[in-house]
Amino acid sequence: MEQLPQQLINGIWQGAALALFAMGYTLVFGVLDIINLAHGATYMWGAFFAFVCITRLDWPLWAAIPAAMIGAGLLAVVLDRLAFKPLRTLTSGGLVLWVGFIVLLLGLIGAWSPGLKWTLTLSGAAIMLGGIVQDYAAIRPLRVRHVPHLAPMISSIGASIILISLAQGIFGAQVSRFPPDIFPSKPYTLPGNAVIAPIQLLVLGIALALMVVLHLLIARTQMGRAIRGIAWSERTARLLGINVDLVVAQTFFLSGALAGAAGVLLGLAFNRLDPFMGNEVELAGLTVIIVGGMGSIGGAAVAAFLVGMLRVLSVGYIDSSFRDAFVFALLILVLLVRPSGIFGRGSSVRA
């Protein structure tokens, strides 16, 4: 028991970083009712953006973190345009674009002979281009109604695979590390014999600050009101003069920037980056947003600390291999007892 204070501290700073990831995850769900399964890949790319800024461009850490957030935010916007938007306002051209995207994806990731690989990839790209041209050329593109719910999920899995493959191609599958001298490493001793490293304090500080900023953006600004308005009724939002596409792009940017921040911060704290680092946090994040109540930002923040603590405590007191077992036990428990999540739907912070 004497290591409890230490475990609690670890649970708090890791929970705070997980909260950043989960809030972005749940934000997109709240607005568009889609699970963006490429959120973990965006998180990973956020970490690598900072890695490039620091190791290749020699930027200081304080500049690399916002740069990584902006990079990941823009990545999420591009992701929306390519993987989700065509499905939202599915025009005939959009459908063609999506089919092209799938073909391109097959070409990129499949273990084909080089000839077939390039044929598939290039024809996928050509089909996508055809789709874009078709929509711009048509006077009134045909609307396709009732897009199957699985389509955006499949899209985001595809996007995730592409993003991971790209990272693998550029950075290799091995673990990359930030230079060790990037941040002071002498830990502070706290009452109860617990220690906290400066980097862990930084993670906690930035995460809490970003949570406050996000809260203010969503609760107090016209952009935040528009995001919540669209989540409730896109049609009404349009009648109020809200450009839905723009607000959706803003939502994705916020979501991606938060994932990117979480990626850099956890990448720094554990000092290990690899193309697959998003997979683990995606599972934890999914649990967090279900436990917190799908679409509830405040719920996600609270649940993130809960899940973070649960993970740390199960590693500290039982065995690290049981970590995910406890997380999933919590997930199953919540799904059985209260499927809408602890802070589900009734919550006033629902976005």
């Binding site: 009134r140 016209q222 009101r225 528009a226 919540r228 308005g229 409730w232 009724s233 049609r235 009404t236 939002a237 349009r238 009648l239 109020l240 003069g241 809200i242 450009n243 839905v244 006033s348 629902r350």
Partner: protein
Amino acid sequence: MLSVNDIYTYYGAIAALQGVTFEVPRGSVVALVGANGAGKSTTLNTISGLVSPRKGTITFEGRDVTGWRADRVTALGLVQVPEGRQILAPLSVEENLLLGAYTRRDSEIEQDLENIYKLFPRLEERRNQIAGSLSGGEQQMLAIGRALMARPKLLMLDEPSLGLAPLIVQEVFRVIGELKEQGATILLVEQNARKALQVADYAYVLEGGRIVQQGLASELRSDPRIVEAYLGRRA
């Protein structure tokens, strides 16, 4: 100010509007009356850009806005209060009003908010409540107030009295009368033809997606066919 010229709107293969033509001059209140399913809401939604007409043109202040995206139409000052209020239930009353001013960038938004509260004191009492907790009448006031926050050049009201208690209906029409006195331009869609014809200057009767009759509201009020079909014997 607004002229709708021979529009045809389809839902799939069904023609909801079959050549609708009318005018809303600046500073007037024009009513569009007709039975359920006559195409009244479709007409407003076509003007607002929620649906596109297959044929015909819509001109607002000399600009062809046919087929424009709904948010761009609203940004021009052609603002609709949709049927069924359509308030943003999880947002507070004040947040709903502030979103009404989404297209504005000027510094008088706070001032207008106070004006709306003067027009609808009930909304001020409930400014921090969740809009979904309001009664039907209060929600209608909120929907109108929210549209006014955009400083509309032309206000389109879709069935503002639908589903409200008689006393509240009185209140809604009192507000419409007040806006009229202030010189607002209003296009009013109503099933309650009696009320609509009292407040309007000019009216069109819509039937099966076509304009079947039009005239000064004062004349239509005493037209025997209108009395028979839409006002009942009492009038």
